[in-house]
Symmetry: C2
Subunit: 184 residues, 2 copies
Amino acid sequence: LTRTKKSPEIITRKTLLTSRMFNVETRDVAFSNGNVTNYEVVSPIYNGAVLVVPILDRSSILLIREYGAGVNRYELGFPKGKVDQGEDILEAANRELQEEVGMASSKLRHVKTVTLAPGMFSHESYIIFAEKLTPSRLEGDEPEEIETIKINLTNVVDMQLTEEITEARSLLALYLVRDYLCCG
Amino acid sequence: LTRTKKSPEIITRKTLLTSRMFNVETRDVAFSNGNVTNYEVVSPIYNGAVLVVPILDRSSILLIREYGAGVNRYELGFPKGKVDQGEDILEAANRELQEEVGMASSKLRHVKTVTLAPGMFSHESYIIFAEKLTPSRLEGDEPEEIETIKINLTNVVDMQLTEEITEARSLLALYLVRDYLCCG
């Protein structure tokens, strides 16, 4: 798995849009063979996002059903949210957990940093396992109450076949937690 | 897993940017409890993307190392690309396979449709398994030759710990193909 090529170099960049959430820019990138290609890249304005896996015990976890504005429908998935200024990612995870499912964790662990579509987006998400949960509610900025659903991990494979979980990050996190609880 | 709430309704939408690749808009969404929240949504200009898992045999698959403009580095992952106008998703998968790894497949199967971050993006990706591979090269629009790497699936879990695969879609696809080859 050795790298064989010199890194491409960004030779021009121009901002197309800066909005509340996104920066969109166009870049010309020069490759080591001399080719120059134009790309459009979306970057977040904020410091990355956490995705939190609330682990109840050796066989069960929590999912939430939340409106996804991008797809304009309800989706099952894990609690998630932006890392606020001055927060570290574990603090952000514990805050989101309290806001979205009304639980605090005393055992948080960063498992993996994932990207969404590295060809277009620079977004990074931190997958975090949260164990030793106790009831604790923080007021969030959610527009409505979020439905929480307890899932038995023996049903995980079936869950993926449902239409209600489509998010690659959440599906990956289901596999990661299944491996962790079964073999860790 | 029954739905308990009336679907939110998009009450206003305004385009912030239309570029070659993206449409960015701001939307006000009304929830059934009367709350109205503003969202920014990025949508693709094109018809979704395919992510192709080239399966060589019961124990090995191919990955590629490709420059990701969004993250400005090389990444390991699966061949992927946009679905062209007039193509169905299996045709798009077979074309990308020939362009990026120089193989054609006579057994293609759509396994799962995934989203990337349903709160912000409307993008959909089609994960497709490609079996019965034979050499066949199509000229693509890649700026440089793409490196292909054969991976033994017994190493899959280790691979995820490397820094070189970060994309949630590709990591999920690794799990899906591992499950398929081990148990299918």
